[in-house]
Every structure is written in structure tokens, then in C-alpha cells.
């Protein structure tokens, strides 16, 4: 049962299995283990980014395709929900319609970019995705009448998914059973299910062809696989999964803006997460996203505490100033790439 659920591709390493289990349990029980708005918000972000990074791993790690348009697809899902909720009014029909429209737009864009540019060299495809993604980001910030421009869009989601809706009068284990909790579990369940779908796809006959193409596209073609079609489908599947992650994010945040979904900074974050976690493993996405978002959210606080604790010692408090957190993240990244070239998941599997 578990083997089928994981598509026969288990962690294959005890430490990796334990880490994954710990992350899974923490996320599954996050509202009860770590009550508080900020920690539950962090948990939801982790869920969304695990899905987003896993979908990126499908193209980068499995098919060997370098794309810089992943945040564009993520944004399409998010803006789909935002626009539908703004124009159709608050309701589940708006959420479903927005999600589907966003996923469809992502699939069509991925198909067009793929068919036009995946025939040629990898570097050309990377450049095209960069150009299209930049163009879309500029368009979104300029068309402020439609998209809210740099300010983004605030909108309402169904009351059943907000804190205003109470399901039980009494708190359970000190946690209020309300719409916000339901919203968290919607994000958690959808991310988990879609992650398992992606895990299945990379272990399917199709996924094996992607790995063959990554290893030697010339030979893959010579044994009868039309490489350009496989690459294009992989790009589309990855784009749709990214759009779905974007929709979940939009449902959770009740806000979209260029900075939360489309910015190039997020693209870089995704790249870092997949490389730190381990490319071509899927489980690397889980570890990479969790570590990175925890660091993003709590490293500053930790450093502030450390700096205060070391007051009076020369140099160190300055280095540990919370404003320097990006410096330390950079150092961590360099070290992890140097010591774990196959990422944390690859390293734990002994590769």
C-alpha cells in the first residue's frame, strides 16, 4: 500500500526516511503542535513550496531542462484565483474556476514555449523562458487596472475557509476549529496529493524516458522516443503543477502581488531549494523547501538572539546582526553545494 502510494520509489535510506516522516508529521499536525498565526502560516508556505519545488525538479532534475519561467506558471495559478474571486465574487465556484483557468493558461504557455524552443539547444530554451517570464512580470505590474499592478490584489475567499467561520464552539487541544484550520488542511492535503502524483509521474514509463533524455538525448531519439514531445509534455506537466501550487498559495494568503508569486527572487529561491535538497530525487524538494523557508522565517530571529547574547565580544555581534541573514544563507548554500553536490537527499542515499 505504502509502496504503491510512493510509486515504489521509497526514501531508500533510514535517515532520509526519518527526516521525511518528521517533516510529514510536523506539517500534518502543525496547527496543534505549533499554534499561532505565524507558525501555521509558515507551515502552509512550506506545503505550497514543496509542491512548487517538486514540480521544478520534474523538469530540472529528471528531464534536465533549465527553465526560468517557473514563477510565471506559479503566478498564473495565483492570479487565476485572485482574478476569479475579484470578478465573480466570493465563492467556491470562483476558486475552482480560477484554479482551472490558471492551470490551463500555464499549460498553453508551456506548450507554446516548448514547441518553439525545445528543439534547439538547452541554453536557448533557458533564455526564452527568462524573456517570456520577464515580459509577463512587466505586463502584470503595468496592467494595474486588471492586476492591481505592484500593489497586487486583495480579495475575499468563501467564509467556510476563514477564521470567521466556527465549526466547534469549544477549542480542541487549545486550537480553535474554524475555517482557517480547514483552509490549512485544504492546502496540506492538496499539496500532499499532488506531490504523490508527481512522484508517480517520475516513476512512470514516461518519467523513465525523461531520465533517458537527461542522460543522452541523442540515444533516446535513436531508440525511438521523440525527444521534443517528451520535453514539451514534461514542461506542461510541471507548469500545471506549479500553477496549482500558485492557486493554493492564493487561497491561503487571500492576496497576490508580483512580489509573492512572480518575482525573480522567488525563482532563485526555488533553484536554491531544489539544489540544496537534491535534484532528481523528488524528496529533495521536501527537505530543500522546508529548510529554506524555516531559515527564511526564523534565521533572522535566531541571529538577533545570538547577536544579543554575544554583546561585548568584538566583531561577532556585527556579523550576526539580523540584517546579515542573507549573507549566512549564502554561506550555507556554498557549503552545501561544496559538501553535498547531490543535495541532502542524494547524500543521505549515499550517492
Amino acid at each position: 500500500m505504502l509502496t504503491r502510494l510512493l510509486s515504489g520509489d521509497g526514501p531508500r535510506s533510514l535517515p532520509l526516511a526519518l527526516i521525511l516522516l518528521a517533516i510529514f508529521l510536523c506539517l500534518a499536525l502543525a496547527p496543534f503542535l505549533f499554534p499561532g498565526t505565524r507558525s501555521v502560516d509558515t507551515a502552509a508556505r512550506i506545503c505550497v513550496f514543496i509542491l512548487l519545488v517538486a514540480s521544478y525538479d520534474l523538469t530540472l532534475g529528471y528531464a534536465g531542462i533549465v527553465s526560468f519561467a517557473h514563477t510565471m506558471f506559479f503566478g498564473m495559478g495565483a492570479y487565476g484565483v485572485a482574478l476569479a474571486s475579484t470578478h465573480l465574487g466570493r465563492g467556491f465556484d470562483a476558486l475552482v474556476l480560477g484554479t482551472l483557468a490558471g492551470a490551463l493558461a500555464a499549460a498553453v504557455f508551456a506548450l507554446l514555449i516548448g514547441l518553439f524552443s525545445l528543439r534547439v539547444r538547452a541554453i536557448f530554451f533557458a533564455m526564452i523562458t527568462l524573456a517570456v517570464a520577464s515580459a509577463v512580470a512587466v505586463l502584470v505590474s503595468q496592467l494595474s487596472g486588471l492586476t492591481g499592478g505592484e500593489d497586487g490584489l486583495n480579495y475575499q475567499i468563501p467564509r467556510a475557509l476563514t477564521a470567521a467561520q466556527k465549526y466547534l464552539d469549544e477549542p480542541v487541544l487549545g486550537v480553535r476549529i474554524n475555517g482557517k484550520l480547514l483552509n490549512y488542511y485544504l492546502v496540506f492535503a492538496a499539496s500532499t496529493a499532488l506531490f504523490l502524483v508527481l512522484l508517480r509521474i517520475v516513476n512512470s514509463p514516461f518519467g523513465r524516458v525523461l531520465q533517458a533524455i537527461r542522460e543522452n538525448d541523442f540515444r533516446a531519439e535513436a531508440i525511438g522516443y521523440r525527444v521534443v514531445y517528451y520535453r514539451t509534455i514534461a514542461t506542461c506537466v510541471s507548469a500545471v503543477a506549479a500553477a496549482l501550487a500558485g492557486s493554493l498559495y492564493a487561497i491561503w494568503l487571500r492576496y497576490v502581488g508580483p512580489d509573492t508569486t512572480l518575482s525573480f527572487e522567488i525563482m532563485v529561491d526555488i533553484l536554491l531549494m531544489v539544489v540544496i535538497g537534491g535534484m532528481g530525487t523528488m524528496y529533495g524538494a521536501v527537505i530543500g523547501a522546508t529548510l529554506f523557508i524555516l531559515a527564511q522565517n526564523y534565521l533572522q530571529g535566531l541571529m538577533g538572539a545570538a547577536a544579543a547574547g554575544l554583546e561585548g565580544v568584538p566583531l561577532l555581534p556585527g556579523l550576526l546582526d539580523p540584517d546579515r541573514w542573507l549573507l549566512w544563507l549564502g554561506v550555507l548554500f556554498v557549503l552545501s553545494v561544496y559538501f553535498f553536490p547531490t543535495g541532502i537527499a542524494g547524500r543521505l542515499r549515499g550517492e
Partner: protein, 254 residues
């Protein structure tokens, strides 16, 4: 010796001013093993590339079972039955030996666009791959990554992948190059075994004269991209022009 399985009609390619293959017209019949010989740079591998599609032809046609395939992409020619093994080993280095062969069988079974089943749950594909690995005596190495195989075993796997493809036209490009004396016979026995099926045709680029003498039903000689001789091995090897111009060096190697 029946109808032609594979034909090339005035097949030519030029790279800039250099004509690498110069209007070669040749028929390859079912049940026949044709050795293709000629000095280095004569256009043997380029001729192969034109037939299997890696290099587009400048002029002329390639016909498989009478139907033109000249404009088809490589993968489509493979699906129609033109199978190719490469001179320089050309495998999937990061994947296991088993997975290399399994991917070929999966391609033959047209399962590549299946996104939602588990690859390892298709027992018939896995069993066929195991059977091929047993035939080439690589079974005990099936779990190893290809990048860790010896050169000889990589050559064997190269041949195994072509056999797994089960094509109508087998194209071997120096299959035993760089193999040790005790490894080469395994590969040559496999190729000889393929001759039992008289519905296929085999093309073999080879330099070793003893190999050609034992395996070939026919020899064609390429020189400067043109077809210089064509006929039964004894006749072609005995002809003066071939002896002097193209075979002299090769015969000394034996």
C-alpha cells in the same frame, strides 16, 4: 534472397564543399549480412547516419520496404524498423544496465507516454529486458550504473540494446572495436545468431577481415563517398582494384 528491405537511391550529402557520401545506390535484401568496408574517411559512418537519420540527406532517397523514409525524424525511422548501434559507445551513463535495455523494450512497446502507471509494474517489459541481458551475458551486472562498466561490457550492452529493439534492419558500426580477444567472440556469435531470421537484413561496418570472411554474405566497398565495389566476399576481396587500393592495409592487419 528475396525483395529489398532497405534501398538507398542516389543518396548523397555534402558538408560545405566536401561530398561525404556521393550518390550511393544500393539494395539490402532480407536474410543477408552486408559488410561495408573502406578506408577511414570513406563515408561509412556518414552513410549509416543518412540511413538512420542523424544526418539529413542533401539528395537522394532512403526506402524501407519500398516506402520513402528520407524526411522522417530519427525516432520515427527507428519505430519503422531501422535499428542502429553506434561506433562510439552511446549509452545512458547514469542509469543501470538493466534500465538501459528496459528503456529500449519500453520504446518498442510504445509505452513512453504512460504517465500514471509504475514503470516497474510492467512485467512483460522487465522480463524481456532480463532475457536480452542473459543472452549477452550481462545479467550479473544488471544493477550496475553503465558508467562503471568496462569498455568491453559497454560494447556488449550497445549490441544488446540494438537486439532489444528487434528491428528489421540491424546496423552495426564496428561492434567489436576495442574489445579484447576473448570478449569479441560473444558479440560476433550474437550477430551470427541474428542471421537465422531471414526476414531481417544486417549491415555491418567492420575493419577486421577475418570477421568479414566468417559473417558476410556480401561486401560493399565505399571510397571517397562512392560505391567502389559490390559483390560476394571472395569476389570483392579478390578483385585487383580493391586489393590494391582499399584492402592492402586492412589485409596486413589480419
Amino acid at each position: 534472397m528475396t525483395a529489398s528491405l532497405l534501398q538507398t537511391r542516389d543518396l548523397a550529402v555534402r558538408f560545405g564543399g566536401h561530398v561525404a557520401v556521393d550518390h550511393v545506390t544500393c539494395d539490402f535484401r532480407a536474410g543477408e549480412l552486408t559488410a561495408i568496408v573502406g578506408p577511414n574517411g570513406a563515408g561509412k559512418t556518414t552513410y549509416f547516419n543518412l540511413i538512420s537519420g542523424q544526418v539529413p540527406a542533401s539528395a537522394g532517397k532512403v526506402l524501407l520496404k519500398g516506402r520513402e523514409v528520407t524526411r522522417l525524424p530519427v525516432a520515427e525511422r527507428t519505430r519503422r524498423g531501422i535499428g542502429r548501434a553506434f561506433q562510439l559507445t552511446n549509452l545512458f551513463p547514469g542509469l543501470s544496465v538493466f534500465e538501459n535495455v528496459r528503456l529500449v523494450i519500453q520504446a518498442r512497446c510504445h509505452r513512453g507516454f504512460d504517465l500514471f502507471s509504475m514503470a516497474m509494474s510492467h512485467a512483460e517489459i522487465s522480463e524481456a529486458a532480463q532475457e536480452i541481458l542473459a543472452r549477452v551475458r550481462l545479467w550479473d551486472l544488471s544493477g550496475q550504473p553503465v558508467s562503471e562498466l568496462s569498455h568491453g561490457n559497454q560494447r556488449k550492452l550497445e549490441v544488446a540494446m540494438l537486439i532489444a529493439l528487434d528491428p528489421k534492419v540491424y546496423m552495426f558500426d564496428e561492434p567489436t572495436a576495442g574489445m579484447s580477444v576473448d570478449e569479441a567472440p560473444v558479440v560476433l556469435d550474437l550477430i551470427a545468431g541474428l542471421k537465422d531470421d531471414v526476414t531481417r537484413t544486417i549491415l555491418l561496418v567492420e575493419h577486421k577481415m577475418d570477421v568479414i570472411r566468417t559473417l558476410a554474405d556480401r561486401i560493399i566497398v565505399l571510397h571517397n563517398g562512392t560505391l567502389a565495389a559490390d559483390g560476394p566476399p571472395a569476389e570483392v576481396m579478390a578483385s585487383d582494384v580493391v586489393q590494391e587500393a582499399y584492402m592492402g592495409k586492412a589485409l596486413e592487419d589480419v
